[in-house]
């Protein structure tokens, strides 16, 4: 795909145009940093922070989502399909996370229709990082501040101009009428990439990334993925309740339509209708087991 060049003014025009046509989300300044918000004008965007406080994951996998409604007679009503949305200013690490997430939820025979529909309606425009935060670790996990994985379009800042690297056709359409990038711009972007690679070779990589993130290593190795959570049996009672140890952000997929075997018995059964109403109503099975004492902390979690 052809790489394009755009000035900041052209970028602002592009964003203004997108804001009028679709839902455009971008990081905006808030009290503690930046957060994602729907914007109507390009000058609301704030890219000064390295990343937003909350990740962009919710654009394809929201924390709470209406899956079905019921009319007063009790008949299920399909909710509105997700809106066409463009996310501008996502960082390569977040986009890569979304790529893994989508890969997991769109496996052969185990596709989550909601995640799939949202990803198809979402265009991700990434902006490469020009600096990193002390807490950044994308290089350690094989990513890059200039990575394009999971994105539709990557913008690389080259002084006053930006290099637009389309990754998918969706991204290419957005910048189709812009001038093509010249050789010197491509070289400048390649130089930046090389600098990051050198930094990753010079010690930003942790000593053992295998223990750092097993699921990541599994995805990289190409081995078959574990079953989606809905078909996993409840944790045995000897296992520590995970929620007592870490923040309970993960959700059980039990009860989602199409996962009959994992439907928890506690949800009311309405014949012929999907049982789950919203995802946030489904609950992890393992929190009511046993009391948490320090002796039940697995040794790996001990301080």
């Amino acid at each position: 795909m052809k790489q394009r060049l755009l000035t900041r003014k052209q970028l602002n025009e592009l964003l203004d145009k997108l804001a009028q046509e679709v839902c455009l989300y971008a990081p905006v300044r808030d009290r503690t940093g930046t957060s994602w918000a729907k914007i109507s004008r390009a000058d609301e965007v704030c890219l000064e922070e390295v990343n937003t406080v909350e990740p962009a994951k919710g654009f394809v996998f929201p924390r709470c989502e209406v899956l079905v409604r019921f009319d007063p007679q009790g008949n299920p009503v399909e909710p509105e399909p997700p809106p066409e949305q463009v996310v501008f200013g996502i960082r390569p690490c977040d986009a890569r996370g979304i790529a893994f997430l989508v890969k997991f939820y769109t496996q052969e025979g185990r596709t989550d229709p909601y995640v799939k529909a949202r990803r198809e309606k979402t265009t991700l425009i990434g902006v490469a990082c020009s600096r990193t935060a002390p807490t950044c670790f994308c290089l350690a996990l094989g990513g890059s501040p200039q990575g394009s994985e999971g994105l539709d379009l990557l913008l690389v800042e080259l002084g006053e101009e930006l290099l637009a690297e389309p990754v998918t056709e969706k991204g290419e359409r957005l910048v189709a009428d812009l001038p093509e990038a010249e050789e010197k711009h491509l070289t400048a972007a390649a130089e930046q990439r090389k600098r990051w690679r050198l930094r990753s070779a010079s010690g930003l990589t942790p000593r053992n990334s295998k223990s750092f993130c097993p699921i990541f290593m599994m995805l990289r190795s190409g081995r078959p993925l574990p079953s989606p959570v809905s078909t996993v049996a409840p944790a045995p009672s000897s296992a520590p309740p995970a929620t007592a140890l870490m923040s309970p952000m993960r959700r059980s997929g039990a009860g989602r339509s199409g996962a009959g075997s994992g439907t928890p018995a506690s949800l009311p059964s309405i014949p012929g209708t999907p049982r789950a109403i919203t995802r946030a109503m489904t609950r992890p099975q393992d929190t009511a087991t046993g009391l948490w004492t320090s002796s039940t902390i697995p040794s790996s979690r001990r301080v």
Binding site: D30, R31, T32, S35, V53, E54, R63, C64, P134, P241, T243, A244, S247, P248, M249, R251, S266, A280, M281, R283, P284, Q285, T287, A288, L291, W292, T293, S294, S295, I297, R302, V303
Partner: protein
């Protein structure tokens, strides 16, 4: 001998003589000016201990996680010691399994600014300790800006307060960082995680957020030592200390006593006294 050197020497001795299995203290400050928590189990590791008190965490929290390992030494500022006192009163720790190295605290400085909890600190010196490193410090002059904001808050009408509280808590993303860093929030299964029955929704809308924060405030009433760890841990910058100070003040005014300042006096809300104010019961 300066305070850090004395701390290192004592930690080395304790570990070498196997009097304790671990010394929990502060490491050298990082770029932000805050010290990380350091867990020293060998005399060599104890060499990195520093006595700068600018550590965002409350060290009493970690004692709960190592309490079955044997005797542990801990560096304690005023607020750490108060939390330890509350945990002792609630039978979560055994006094004989603790060796408390007390230090006076000048306040936590985060990105060049004194943490809001430390700006109105009333107890910079530990109330219980086995040995005191260095001299006690005097309590700082309370920050007039914080006091003024508190007074303004109290003078608002209940409706206005509710409105501002709603606006503040609407931003909560329910990451539960405030709960995780709190040494006095140690329930085996927190009410927000309970699934049978599920007591609270999993969303982060205002109604669920409000239930979470109000119930947490009630659970902490008379137990919160106002260390400010929750305030510093909040990723979206909710001014949790404003609410905690208010609750602590109410308890102080009506039932007397500061949480964790007197080991022999049980927490205010765990006892009934005939002369407790009870004009609200009609």
């Amino acid at each position: 001998m300066d305070q850090s050197e004395k701390l290192r020497q004592r930690a080395r001795e304790l570990l070498e003589k196997k009097e304790v299995v671990m010394v929990i203290g502060f490491g050298p400050p990082s770029g932000s000016g805050l010290s990380p928590v350091l867990f020293a189990t060998t005399p060599e590791q104890a060499e990195n201990l520093t006595a700068t008190a600018s550590c965002a965490q409350n060290l009493a929290n970690y004692l709960l996680k190592v309490r079955d390992r044997g005797k542990v030494a801990v560096v304690a500022r005023g607020c750490d010691a108060r939390s330890i006192t509350v945990l002792l009163q609630e039978n979560q720790l055994r006094r004989e399994n603790l060796y408390i190295l007390g230090i006076g605290c000048e306040g936590i400085v985060e990105n060049g600014r004194k943490s809001v909890a430390c700006a109105v600190c009333r107890h910079p010196n530990p109330g219980i300790y086995d040995e005191m490193l260095g001299e006690p410090v005097s309590a700082p002059e309370p920050d007039p800006e914080v006091l003024k904001a508190d007074t303004e808050w109290e003078q608002l009408s209940p409706d206005e307060r509710w409105e501002r509280l709603s606006a503040e808590l609407d931003r909560c993303i329910r990451c539960y960082a405030c709960r995780q860093v709190c040494p006095n929030c140690y329930c085996p299964v927190c009410f927000v995680d309970a699934s049978m029955p599920q007591l609270l929704g999993r969303t982060h809308n205002l109604s669920d957020n409000m239930v979470y924060h109000i119930i947490r405030a009630l659970h902490m009433a008379g137990r919160c030592v106002e260390c400010g760890a929750c305030h510093r841990a909040c990723p979206v910058g909710i001014d949790l200390m404003r609410f905690n100070r208010r609750v602590a003040k109410t308890v102080r005014e009506r039932f007397g006593g500061d949480a964790g300042t007197n080991l022999n006096e049980p927490p205010a809300l765990t006892v009934f006294k005939p002369d407790d104010p009870q004009e609200f019961i009609r």
